[in-house]
Amino acid sequence: MQITVTVNGTAHTREVEPRLLLVHFLRDELRLTGTHWGCDTSNCGVCVVQLDGQPVKSCTVLAVMADGREVRTVEGLARGAELDPIQQGFSDKHGLQCGFCTPGMMMTCRALLDRNPDPSDTEIRVAISGQICRCTGYENIVRSVHAAAEIERAAQEVHQ
């Protein structure tokens, strides 16, 4: 069936099988391979994207269910050469190693900061508790989110 999904601000219309998973729509149809997959049971969270602004596990959403909706992926974080603060935070604080869980982590943490500009350690840990990272032991991911929050606060102060 034909669907139109707006991904990172651009509307994409494709003919798809109803069973096509959103993660495969993004990766195979649109070649946006920054969103990964790591399990089949919605436990690992490396496939997290934002659907209408909320983090969801794209391995457990059908592409047809995203018809007419907005999806944001890791490719939609930076504005041109300008990194999103969450990307800057992960880079500054060594919040990634193999990089495989990183896009999903960043999409969740981006959504967290949009709701809560100054999360506590525990709030960050809860937010990412449905996502597995095998490399970092999470410590530097927590620091990365704090760093991103700080970057955003500093930018706000400049604006005011």
């Binding site: 890791v74 060594h94 095998r134």
Partner: protein, 807 residues
Amino acid sequence: MSTDTTGVAAPGTPPTEVAPTQVCASTPMGYGSMRRKEDARFIRGQGRYLDDIALPGMLHGAVLRSPFAHAKIVSIDTSAAEAHPKVKAVITGETLAGLGLAWMPTLSHDVQAVLATDKVRFQGQEVAFVVAEDRYSARDALALIEVDYEPLDAVIDARKALDEGAPVIRDDLDGRTDNHIFDWEAGDSAATDDVFANADVVASCDMLYPRVHPAPMETCGSIASMDPVTGKLTVYTTTQAPHAHRTIYALVAGLPEHKIQVISPDIGGGFGNKVGIYPGYVCAVVGTIVTGAPVKWVEDRSENLMATSFARDYHMHGEIASTKDGKLLGVRVKVLADHGAFNGTAQPSKMPAGLFHVFSGSYDMAAAHCAVTGVYTNKAPGGVAYACSFRITEAVYLIERLVDVLAHDQGWDPAELRMKNLLKPEQFPYTTALGWEYDSGDYPTTLQKALDIAGYAELRREQAAKRERGELMGIGIAFFTEAVGAGPRRTMDILGLGMADGAELRVHPTGKAVLRLSCMSQGQGHVTTFAQIVAEELGISPDDIEVVQGDTDQTPFGLGTYGSRSTPVSGAATAIVARKVRERAKIVAAAMLEVSPDDLEWEKGRFHVAGDPSASAAIADIAMAAHSDLELPEGVEGHLDATCVYNPPNLTYPCGAYICVVDVDKGTGQASVRRFIAVDDCGVRINPMIVEGQVHGGLADGVGMALMQLMAFDSDGNHLGASFMDYLLPTAMECPSWELGETVTPSPHHPIGAKGVGESATVGSPPAVVNAVLDAIGVRHADMPLTPAHVWRAMRGEPIRTDLAIG
């Protein structure tokens, strides 16, 4: 080797009070915490992992797997699958047998079925391979293959594998009448028995290091593409050891090695899961040969957990002897090693138990002995994987549990007992009772530092006060000695390939450089760290050094990244190759400055005339001159490059002291890690931020293995941890905020004094967590994982056998 390779100075080592994750404001000219170069791609979603690659005309493979642990294959009917409109080929064991590929050699002198022909020997074993136009159709076609199985009794409990009348798993092997694989010993049995006979105190304990899985977030996969015109096979694959893979493909498939290119793209974590060659990879190669199109195969998570490279599965009976005042005398252990249905452990070929025989640990002990028996069971093959440093995880767990068991029995403080017996700095280099030569370390300082950070005495007071109130908290200590950087060629090889690694460095005319390595990052940050080594040696900014890895057509031969060997081996090769370049640069600089090379002094990035710093040549100018018409002394080639193959003279021996603090809910048995203190000594730290990150990840592994990660089997051989719903990995909620410290004792034999660190925390942390939980509940021993149910049962004196189904 140039003359200055023996220096162990650590010019770039930052003072310990600098928070290691604080990156330098600008790129350091050498060692120091700097942002990783590779992250620019990863944070933009521009990593290029195996499944991200789409070749023109690429087909997709899927593997049909056995639902039974042990069954005869009566027949396979592929006709319906072949009739599927999108299916291009269906390959069975019979197809492969015709090509001589139904079986492949393992890394441990055994063979493994690529696709089963006679019978299946574990649940999840590969039975058929479908190649289709897209991944969904390939999966659909699996359901169309009819396999008629005749189920057989399975050997699931390793302790019964050698029983009289046990089903014989490997009847494919000539003359095989039982499930015995090998017996292997290390140490002096008689001397050890003698020590035990005369000891005041002996403590013994049965313990299981259960089967676990590395479970990197990216599963294993491969894309094989045969060019029908040139006959060149390109294999994109998730491998930690691209060169070893190429050689094995050449040996197995009989393809000429120069016509095989193995490319490892970005790897989404490896941890030992991506060392071996799996049947799916071979099937993809056969698939491309059969169809003439590139074939991609990527395992799903259940396939990953069921079929590729489990780790551990050591049933150990350990004993430790001491004097009545706590001087450790000896340790001995009998091991029953469950190797699964094929002996496919990946370790130095001459060592069937890997490096397990470092199990005398960090203590001064007169005698030690082990006897290891390997057995076949109806489970997946593997055993050496998951950041284990070739089974040092098992060794450290054994000794650190035994020390705690002894302390428990005698009412001794586990910190004092350890401190009393740790090797002293002046004892290094120290040759253990098992023949290892530990290179360097300051163990007492390392432990003391951990005790200080933890506030050990205060924690014990808190524990006592809580016990008064009926609350449970525990403090667990582990001290480990790692042995990494395999290894000296005379003792260590894999399939006859010596464990040396290469490096090639070329400085371009403009003074930028490219470094080519045989090792392969799976997230360890090679692109950054190895550039920093060159920067330290040559004064070229890490930003100006490209690091190339993972492509056999672009890199020198070497055995790859596992066993924490990249920095000890390839890091040494890199330092040496940079020093060779510096020697050449010195000759060129002498010609430029019209002086004798002997008159030149090196300061990072330039040579100057002794006594006249103004008469100097910077490395970039030297590089241009080396490529120019400048006349060089006779016999000196132009350009600025060098190669090196590094054959390690010894392993490096990192160490660490770990302290874990847990709280246990008495009513439910739930254990939570409140604090974790880790003081690591990995010698000179090239990028302290990356070192710290490596430690963090390994500590999470320890929490996971100690508390939740488990793959048990029911009596039919059904895998009870075959998805992430059942095989639980720790989340951010189970991990505390790690508290790290460091000591630095450089390796005396490594060119830059560095030791490996990638696996230290995975090796050292599980016993700390277990010791803490058992300390909390006052129980002598219970096996991992200490799930709430198991802790509750252990408190009641009815511990659970964790390798079998809970019944």
